[in-house]
Amino acid sequence: MELDFSHQAHFIVALAPEIILSVLGIVILLMGVSSRRPEGAETSADLGWISVLGILAAALANGWLYSVTEVGTHSMIALDGFALFSNWIILAGAALGILISQSYIDRQGLQAAEFYGLLIYSTVGLMIMAAARDLMVIFLGLEIMSVAVYVLAAINRRDRKSAEAGLKYFLLGAFSTGFFLYGIALVYGATGSTHVSAIAESIAGGTAHSALLVFGIALLAVGFSFKVSAVPFHMWTPDVYEGAPTPVTALMSVTVKAGAFLAFLRVFSVGFPDAYESWWAVLWWMAVLTMVVANLVATVQVSVKRMLAYSGIAHAGYLMVAIVAANETAAAGLLFYLLTYTLMNIGAFGIVILVSGQGEERLEIEEYAGFGWRQPVLGVVFTVSLLSLAGFPGTGGFMGKVFLLQGAIEANLVYLSAILVLTTVASYWYYLRVAWYMWMKDAPREASTQSIEVPIAMRLALVICVVLIVYLGVFPGASMELARSSVEGMSGVGPGLIGLAP
């Protein structure tokens, strides 16, 4: 099927997954309102499975979109491989996020309908963001997502920490939105358009106002950096990740970050390739700072949740390398990495949810002493997830890291690559520290010996994560091919950019 965006009706087809999800969100909210059962009781499972089914439907639609071809490139929403692959990542993150939330929602007594509804809307926002070709649409997607996540972060009203996290995220998020918007305005002023292709043409044609442009680019970079939590705009991340309900943290650390990175890549690689000289150094330094600071600070954390927050920042640093490299390999690597990152982070947070228990009291790393021997299967799952986060061979994390490094080296970013791997070594320390608490320390005597009940949804999520992590680590070929073909259509991203012959 061919889509011609001069026909209004064809937009509906192009946005099928988003529309399905939006409808799903309304249905969930309505179901939550219509439910006569007391707050939180038993609804979460039903609503959760419905949400997952809805997301599967959206995913089906997304798959179907592969058979659709787009005519012309000037639509505001792209229907290219990049967008579709992005949708896979975001949908996978959302679905897994819902699966690991169920037990948490029950335990904490949250309103399931609101939780899932907001989660779904944030997913919609992210998908729009990742597919957008226009800064205006990106802004809209960003805000749809942000508003939903602000609420999600603060959704546990009984918890001070959750409220504090919500407030911090909201204030700083809105603050950064100001910069982001200002950046859009300046770029708009400099190039006369908000459409990335038009911006690129304007810059290539030399008609752009250079001073406005560079300031605009800088402010856009700031805005994106906030959302992907790159140093020094990461300050909110540890606090919010720690305070927010754990499933929300998981979601923020995977889908939100993924969406922001995808938009980041598209804007900078497609929109500003010809201004590369003016922005690469900024992002280079930001990448370095992010990797170094996050990894080093993570080594001194005592809370596993907060440690995973810093780990998330560190991964943002690795992904920034792909943005700096700005070539096809790096872009494909970014997609692949985000996919595996989603899986491994959900896996890790799933365990954290299980261990933390009622009221999130067991987050300290000491709580994990001897955990592996008490819960061998969960221990192995956590270990595999951590090894993947660390980037160990046999896991998807390793392949992703190699992919990123390849892109960086193709762009001659040798020092950056070296810094990446050296900071990775630091990351081994804190990932393995959890592993050593789990397997090498004996449990404190007073530790509960009762085995942890693992609900079916959580079980499913963990199995999917581990199996896919290992699968991507052992047979990454197909996913890599897909990632690579997904970035081929993007103009601006390509091997020509840095002068390496194909």
Partner: protein, 97 residues
């Protein structure tokens, strides 16, 4: 006029930024953020006079979004006010290091 408009909007933006940094009251901080957004709106309007009509469309989007944000933001502030009986952000630092 463009330069003057941009300078004015830039100054408003800086004022908003400074407000966020120096004020401790969450609601005032939020207002300062609104100030930033309005500075951006002013920029859009000023630029659109020279570039094209999209800038003015953008302003509407921004206003809408700001309204939505305001709703959510105030809800969150109320939520935290219930816990602390204050909206002084200095008091909210359970989460740190």
């Amino acid at each position: 006029m463009l330069v003057e408009s941009l300078v004015v909007s830039g100054m408003i933006f800086v004022i908003g930024t400074l407000g966020v940094i120096v004020r401790r009251n969450a609601i005032v901080m939020f207002l300062c953020i609104e100030l930033q957004l309005n500075a951006v709106n002013l920029t859009f309007v000023a630029l659109s006079r020279y570039v094209g009509i999209e800038g003015q469309v953008f302003v509407f989007f921004v206003m809408t979004v700001a309204a939505a944000e305001a709703a959510v933001g105030l809800a969150i502030i109320i939520s935290i006010f219930r816990h602390y009986e204050t909206v002084d952000v200095d008091k909210f630092n359970l989460l740190k290091w």
